[in-house]
Symmetry: C2
Subunit: 162 residues, 2 copies
């Protein structure tokens, strides 16, 4: 997750991504929608392109002009953005209701995005999900143990995965 956050762990970056999911593609549109400075927008867009979350595609010749489109990696952030939007709507509403509502065109209902288990389909509750070390961290934990160090707990082992 630390690596993920190095790409998207920042307010402006996430707001740019929301705009991209709503269909914004051009520099000037992002700028006017978000009220962000050109310098800051340019820096954030550059980072998203560098990490392969957006791709810069020419849409006009002479002068050449570019637009920014979501890649598959970028589209993969959809659950993050939708979960964050739902959380904001539930916990930070000032009595005006959600700014946006979402209709699932497959079933034609207004929806709440819900995080569920890929295997049984039930909503995931933190108290029912047990984290365990993946292979790489298991090996690190074993090395620490062999070296005579006391076995560390999961949160402290995570620094080895950054």
């Amino acid at each position: 997750m630390a690596r993920a956050l190095s790409v998207v762990g920042e307010r402006w970056t996430m707001l740019i991504m929301r705009d991209a999911f709503l269909g914004t593609r051009r520099f000037d549109q992002f700028q006017s929608n978000l009220g962000i400075t050109r310098h800051r927008l340019s820096e954030r867009l550059g980072k998203l392109v560098e990490h392969g979350v957006l791709v810069k595609v020419p849409y006009h010749d002479r002068p050449v002009r570019y637009e920014y489109r979501l890649t598959r990696k970028g589209l993969g952030l959809y659950p993050v953005l939708m979960s964050l939007a739902r959380w904001g709507d539930e916990w930070m509403d000032k009595g005006e209701g959600a700014p946006l509502e979402y209709v699932h065109q497959t079933c034609d209902n207004k929806i709440r995005p819900t995080l569920t288990c890929s295997e049984c389909g039930e909503p995931l509750r933190p108290e029912e999900v047990k984290p365990q070390l993946g292979r790489a961290l298991q090996e690190i934990a074993a090395q620490l143990e062999n070296g005579g160090e006391s076995l560390e707990d999961i949160p402290s082992l995570l620094k080895w995965s950054m």
Copy 2:
């Protein structure tokens, strides 16, 4: 979402929240797990308490010592963190596999957290979900139209909800 990001739209804040979900509660534990400066940690924890995401609870008298626990509002961020972790695992893996795996104790399977529709249960794909203006933004759009202004599109109307 902009309001949500004013609380959690930042790398360290999200890493603190991940640690809290993994069971970390005390200042010194957060500090040693994350390798963050005391000043920065103190500032970020203070903000999370101020926004009601964490609550500061005394666990020791003379001297009084506090720990930080997730509130219900904080627990509500679980889907955001799980979605972000899954995205990092899928798109930013360096060949070592996921640092953490998750077992759903209800069904006893290793899982991938999956964002689904609250109504039909199908996974949500961005191209099948249509955003529409909520009540407050509908009213703003109507006012703009009555004032003779051209009706703005969804991304540009969102600035009115910040």
